[in-house]
Amino acid sequence: MTFLICVAVAIVRVKDLFAVAMLSGIYGLLSASLFITMDAVDVAFTEASVGAGISTLLMLTTVAMTGRTEHYVRHKPLLALLVVFVTGALLIYATLDMPYFGDVLAPANLHVAPRYIQDSMREIGVDNIVTSVLASYRAFDTFGEVVVIFTAGIGVLALLSFTRRPEDDAEISSDNISMHEQNMIVRIVSKILIPFILLFALYVQFHGDFGPGGGFQAGVIFAAAIILYAMLFGMGVARRAINQTFVQLFAAVGVLLYGMVGVASMLNGGNFLDYNVLSEDPVAGQHLGILIIELGVGIAVAMVVIIIFFNFADRIDISKHKADKKI
């Protein structure tokens, strides 16, 4: 735990933004390990792939575009400190009446949660309680979550997309090829790894019922494989392999798939997202429903992350290109 504070303080102090981005990656990994020690394996899974993986990559791309050094001007630190300390004091004050860490009798552990733990096997039939809560009891939240990430994807598209000129494309890709001739070893190893990563993503996708994992994590891993490919072989090549319009449409399909499950259950006479009615046997219905929505989540997340990354990386290539031309 104390590590976390060290890293956080370091982030405050370090001025090299690249280093900051990397430290935030370490921070993500650390908090993920912390989640594991506190039994939150699913969360750790996600935090590792998001905090240490995708966020860090995005930060790096941004830093690569915006410049590395920070011109540090200390301004209004007093006000900031005041706000921070008031908040902190309030929280410390709040902790005084809290149930202790790990208390079995804390109200949070007595009221709603026991039902999930005791009955989810009978009602849903999935080993991983987190999955059953996520995908069935609180499925609507998860739907919201997919929509949030989709919104972010669209937002990034709205902000960063631009019409590409073909000649730019050609130049950039030739650039990339020359640049990566040298990285033979890395490329070969990655070529071996990428199919494996994709396979692993599928495993995570469908194994979510029994162990940690699920649609979101699988989506991120899948996207990570694609990102790796794009980084090593250049955006131009990756772009040829993966059609952007197609990706966008697929992201939409992912969200719609999720919604459709809900609509289907409505048509079958249940409430929105009530999987019990999807099949004769409620438990089988639950299984089916969870399977499909996890698939929807996976598709949507993977595509959105790809969209986000590609748009960022395109900007880099373009801005670098412009800079090269100026020189």
Partner: protein
């Protein structure tokens, strides 16, 4: 049988931890980037495999061993690759190895 497994597992774990620690000391104490990388890269690979093998010996479950083997393979693949890539990138960016006694601990961050 059990005892033998346990002992060998403990031995592996011990060796792994020791290598880890020495790598950790190395990464702090060595004078420049390339030597540090050496410390990290070498210990990483061996220590990781030692610890993973140690864990494998502890568990009879097939799927767990399979997963551990996968992790092991991955570390074996990834660790040297990243080391290689890092060294190459560092060379390309103009970071010179510390060959003689010249002091150039800082200021080599090229941008």
């Amino acid at each position: 049988m059990d005892i033998a497994l346990n002992i060998s597992s403990a031995l592996c774990l011990f060796l792994g931890s020791f290598l880890c620690l020495s790598g950790g000391v190395g990464i702090i104490r060595f004078p420049d980037f390339y030597t540090r990388m050496h410390a990290a890269g070498v210990t990483d690979t061996l220590a990781a495999s030692m610890i993973l093998i140690g864990l494998m010996l502890q568990n009879p479950d097939a799927i767990v061993i399979l997963k551990l083997v996968m992790i092991l393979l991955m570390t074996l693949f990834i660790s040297p690759t990243t080391s290689h890539a890092m060294a190459k990138a560092a060379m390309n960016s103009g970071l010179q190895p510390l060959l003689d006694k010249k002091e150039n601990k800082d200021g080599v961050e090229s941008s």
